[in-house]
């Protein structure tokens, strides 16, 4: 093969290899769960209302059987996103609509409400400081920000409930619990949040799958200045 021929073969192979690498990085590695921005929703300084729901199965996407969180964005739409951008040093009023059944906690320590105003949550209108996950409906999920010491147990719906939601986003016509709590965001930074109930069905110890994948049972509280 001539010099020109060899050169073009090598360049062609190089382009293919680089293209493959770029496709791999951009297509598979970089994409992450989208961010929902709450910083401009309210005038600066006033509290931010954050409404989320936890569902027993998301019903769509690559893992339809997985449990997941969804968030209501400032325009009122439910988004399948777990990175929430909120302003710093601001009160967050958290409302969680819990559509999933519960069970005893792996560590009952997470049945105690921690880090919220008054260290309590409001469960269907009742003030709760400690929830016994071995009794009642058990705990379905928790909303916990370990580095900020915040943890809110989300009590489950009855396991014998008939009107359960199976495809997100769920509407309040389905059986659910409403949990409210509030806390104040610290300075800027990205704070991971997670669930402490091993709710990854079918994975050993329940901590695989949705528990171990960003966008389902874990995300970031992106506190912006």
């Amino acid at each position: 093969m001539s010099f020109g021929g060899r050169l073009s073969v090598v360049l062609g192979l190089f382009v293919i290899v680089v293209g493959f690498a770029v496709w791999g990085v951009v297509g598979f590695l970089l994409p992450t769960t989208p961010t929902v921005d709450f910083t401009s929703a309210q005038p600066a300084g006033s509290a931010v209302d954050l409404t989320v729901q936890t569902v027993p199965s998301i019903g769509f996407g690559p893992h339809p059987t997985w449990v997941s969180y969804l968030v209501k964005d400032p325009s009122g739409q439910w988004q399948h996103a777990t990175i929430w951008k909120v302003p710093a040093h601001t009160r967050i009023n958290l409302t969680i609509l819990q559509y999933d059944s519960g069970s005893p906690l792996r560590n009952q320590q997470w049945g105690k409400v921690q880090g919220t105003t008054g260290n309590v949550e409001i469960l269907n209108g009742k003030v709760v400081a400690v929830y016994d996950s071995n009794s009642g409906n058990g705990v379905g999920h928790t909303f916990s920000i370990p580095t900020l010491g915040i943890s809110v147990p989300l009590v489950g719906i009855s396991s014998s409930a008939t009107n359960t939601c199976s495809v997100a986003p769920c509407t309040t016509t389905f059986d659910h619990n409403v949990i409210r709590a509030s806390f104040v965001t610290p300075g800027p930074g990205q704070y991971p949040w997670q669930c402490f109930v091993p709710c990854g069905l079918g994975f050993l110890f329940g901590n695989g799958g949705p528990m171990g994948t960003l966008g389902y049972m874990g995300g970031f509280l992106d506190v912006a200045s």
Partner: protein, 330 residues
């Protein structure tokens, strides 16, 4: 001119070329080895004490606890021995690369004579010296390990070298995906996310896990013990100074391994007692719901129908069942 140097094949070949070099032929050969030893000695004598005086006291992990002090000391001793060893090799390499270069570009000049002989004495000397250094390091490390009650490393459920202090404060470290929590058995077994320990106290950390393998690394306390499921890994230390310390998980345990850290404090004894007693009272409602304190726990694998094994009503191990009421199936 270089003398005829008989080679092993000299007998057969005609006119052996007198081109086998053996160093400087003009006058006495400078003693390269003594020069190298001198350079090395000067560097070692200067750098070792410099390290000991200026760097040594600041070497991690610091002096907050007995184990931190001891591990800092061990590191310094090893470094003080390692530095001259490294200097020796580097000085030798630098000297030889500068001094013994091929003079004629592009031509390979054979080196024969005394320079090509492999002295048996050098080889034996090397082997003996390295063996002595290495065995010395072993003895030193073992003595330090024994004398320091395990040096802050996890010794498993049956530690061999234990402190003789009269009162040891047990603190249980529970690793779970993805946070460490701490239980204080001598204060009613309350569980807390905060790690607060008193100063001037011998502490026994009992590290265990509820799911996968984590590792409890209290950096300034110089404690590192893997958290294994259904195993109690014990590590000892004695606190000496007040201050705050960092705890990081140092065994990859899943998605949030990088976020699995918290801070702790070493506080005066009175402050610790006050905190422990008040937290015991504050958490009493939840402590009642926690399983009784045990050194290992077998969580209900089916905690949320989340495992794929059948309900763990009769656990395989004798340990306490952590999450489910014993005997009650889900």
């Amino acid at each position: 001119m270089s003398p005829d140097e008989p080679t092993t094949h000299e007998a057969d070949s005609s006119a052996a070329g007198p081109m086998v070099t053996q160093g400087n032929t003009h006058g006495k050969e400078p003693s390269h080895l003594w020069r190298m030893v001198a350079i090395w000695a000067v560097l070692a004598v200067i750098l070792d004490p410099l390290f000991y005086i200026f760097v040594g006291p600041h070497v991690p992990p610091g002096t907050m606890t007995s184990t931190a002090e001891e591990n800092q000391f061990d590191f310094n001793v090893l470094f003080l021995v390692a530095l001259p060893v490294m200097l020796a090799i580097w000085v030798y390499m630098a000297y030889s690369l500068i001094t013994w270069r091929a003079s004629r570009k592009g031509v390979a000049e054979p080196v024969g004579g005394a320079a090509a002989k492999a002295s048996l004495g050098v080889q034996v000397g090397w082997i003996v010296t390295t063996t002595v250094l290495v065995l010395g390091a072993f003895v030193f490390g073992t003595v330090e390990l024994i004398v320091n009650n395990g040096s802050g490393g996890g010794e498993g459920p049956n530690p061999v070298w234990t402190p003789t202090s009269a009162t040891i404060l047990p603190v249980q470290v529970i690793g779970q995906q993805w946070k460490f929590t701490y239980r204080y058995p001598t204060f009613g077994g309350f569980e807390s996310s905060q790690l607060i320990v008193p100063v001037d106290t011998t502490i026994a950390f009992h590290v265990t896990s509820l799911d996968v393998i984590h590792s409890f690394w209290a950096y300034q306390l110089s404690i590192k013990a893997d958290a294994n499921p259904q195993q109690d890994n014990v590590a000892y230390t004695t606190t000496k100074e007040l201050g705050s310390f960092t705890v990081r998980c140092s065994e990859l345990c899943g998605l949030w391994h990088g976020a699995m850290y918290n801070y702790g404090s070493v506080v005066p004894k009175a402050q610790f007692m006050a905190w422990a007693k008040s937290t015991e009272v504050k958490n009493a409602a939840n402590t009642k719901l926690l399983p009784p304190f045990a050194y290992t726990y077998v969580p209900d694998a089916n905690g949320a129908d989340g495992g794929y094994y059948p309900d763990n009503v009769d656990p395989y191990s004798n340990a306490e069942v952590y999450g489910a009421t014993p005997g009650k199936s889900k």
